[in-house]
């Protein structure tokens, strides 16, 4: 089934649910706004969000939480309209991302992204320090998000997530792809700090366009020599597919140091390696349903 068909089918189902979510046009996303009490937002890839009170919402990725990485986040409104022009919220987060890394297939990545440590399991005394699997890490984060609605919804975000080692030792970063390394930075690189800016403007009642710019910095792993900064940009669109469903589609670009090199030749024909930055481009796609009790 194509994504559009899936979205249309889901929209039909959701269209029968009570309470219109964006009857007055699509609302901006990724802002400091807190979901209204009793409102729930479900997404295919995004988190499950639930408004608990006028100032507090909680969110989690339920499938990821159940099988791969227990996680929960909250959003607490500090300032919000109509009392203030600017919305401001605090966002504490907690997750244990290492569960997926140390679990065997088919759900876990052991043996693929992380070592199996078969000898350690069979003969613990033979090479006791040789298993280079990451210990369990608790990733604790705090974010601050501010949104100002003027021509577009302008959202600035700053957040910091620290990986607290609960057991074992910290392993080396995967140095794989920017989004994967950023996700796992608290595990492998101790911390991830981020600032981002998003502009989100309605084009019509059923279409919004958003542009984002991001800068991340991660801690240094055990192998030195890697630029800890990653730059990112995202161009996204939100399409209303019913009164309470939307399809999001876009493209994300990351610019990072993934230890890539290239050969360059001098005038005499001799070569040397030169470090270059990596460019990763991935599509973004989601289907979001919002409803209320």
């Amino acid at each position: 089934m194509r994504a559009a068909d899936f979205a249309w089918a889901c929209g039909l189902v959701a269209g029968g649910l009570p309470v219109g979510a964006w009857a007055e046009g699509l609302s901006p996303r990724e802002t400091a706004a807190v979901l209204p009490p009793g409102a729930t937002e479900v997404a295919v890839f995004g988190p499950l969000r639930r408004g608990l009170s006028p100032r507090v919402e909680v969110s989690t990725h339920p499938l990821v939480a159940a099988f791969l990485a227990p996680n929960i986040a909250a959003r607490v409104a500090v300032l919000h309209p109509p009392d203030h022009d600017v919305s401001l919220s605090l966002e504490p987060t907690l997750s244990v991302p290492t569960m997926a890394l140390t679990s065997p297939p088919p759900l876990g990545a052991e043996g693929y992204l992380t070592p199996t440590c078969a000898v350690d399991a069979a003969e613990p005394a033979r090479a006791p320090d040789d298993c280079q699997r990451s210990g369990e890490v608790l990733a604790a984060g705090l974010g601050l998000t501010a949104t100002l609605e003027a021509w577009a919804a302008w959202t600035a975000r700053i957040d910091y997530t620290h990986g607290v080692l609960l057991t074992g030792e910290r392993a080396a970063p995967l140095d794989a792809w920017a989004p994967v390394d950023l996700l796992l930075a608290p595990v492998y690189s101790t911390y991830r700090a981020h600032v981002g800016l998003r502009g989100d403007r309605a084009v019509t009642d059923w279409l919004r366009v958003a542009l984002e710019a991001h800068l991340w910095r991660v801690g240094e792993g055990p192998i030195p020599g890697r630029d800890p900064h990653t730059f990112g940009a995202h161009l996204g669109t939100d399409w209303a597919t019913s009164a309470r469903t939307r399809l999001t589609a876009g493209v994300f670009y990351w610019n990072s140091d993934q230890r890539r090199t290239r050969l360059v030749k001098d005038s005499e024909g001799f070569s040397r390696y030169e470090r270059v930055r990596s460019h990763d481009v991935l599509p973004t796609l989601d289907f979001i349903i919002r409803f209320a009790d």
Binding site: P106, G111, Y112, W177, I223, Q258, D280
Partner: protein, 388 residues
Amino acid sequence: MTTTRLVGARVVGLGLAAGGLLACEPLYEIPASGAAPIFRDRDEPPPPPLSAQPVLRVMAWNIKYGAARIPFWFDCWGDRVRMDREEVTGNLERVAALIREVDPDVLLLEEIEVNSRRSAYVDMVDVLLRETSLGYAAYFSTWRSRYVPTEGLGRMDLGNAILSKYPITEARAIRQADRTDQDAVTAAFYLHRAIGRAVLDLGDAGQAAVYVVHTEAYDVDGTKQRQIAQIHQILGDEHLPFVIGGDFNELPPVAVRRETFPDERATALCSEDFVQPPYTPEVLQPFYDDFVAAIPLAAYGTTEASQRRFFTHSVLGPDEINESGEAGFWNRTLDYLFAGGGSDFEEGSGDVLQVRGQRVAGDGAPLAGDPLRASDHAPVYGRWRVRP
């Protein structure tokens, strides 16, 4: 490999492939035959001029990507998947020290890495150029991938290299046959073996060709035998005097022990992918028939005790024990040097550098370095008489 693991590998591989489609760097590369990069250490003074019929010291060595005796997971005696930079540089310094002691004019290296996660991204070609008196190098990549999704290996650039005191004027990689006994995803992320050929400018002695090879170890479909046959055929077509060396992953035709080596586990703990298939020593016979070996077959003798002197490989090192409590020592011959095209080796000059204190080919000072702790392969040495 179990079905679950295989399916998992495909899923992970396809996922990575899908992600990689939009990245600017390919997920893996299958190197084609063609020109290979040549590097130069500009600080190295020019070598002394050669006579018209020079004798060059040649050494071939599989250096296990600077891991010395660290037991990696595929050794099945440990779980390591990567090293710290200090480990790599320390191990490489011991490798370089042994090279400086032997002072070869031509050095053939296998399992050398230039930008791999498991070896802390150390450019070993550059390190060995700087740390030895060899001023030129050619590198032949045989395993290049942005991310190898096996045990968290990650970025990989492994290959073979030819280092020389004399200018390398041309370097070319010649692709070898890939294995056919792997699924497509595993095969894509696996090694793609290549023969490395370099042409040396020996001044008044003219030109000579140098080859480095490292053939397959774990196939069960005859890939290694096809690769060895291809090497023999290419050498037959060589028009320059040549020397070839490397890790053939094959026993000599006269080998007494052909199976049940003391560093094989009674029960495999790691993947079935790393179980040693039966050796086929007869495939090396044509090399002895048509070329000149640094160590002739007659030197091996007819007993395991006499052949032990020329063993070049062991999985376990002297500081590790097998399941019977025996410490590791060289237990089979896999590495060779051959010459041809009118050139040969000085009689009795062929040797395997096995232990500290040994005199290379019975000559010179005792070795201060310890080959047994520097790699899981021992260097093979010979004095090559180039006859243009």
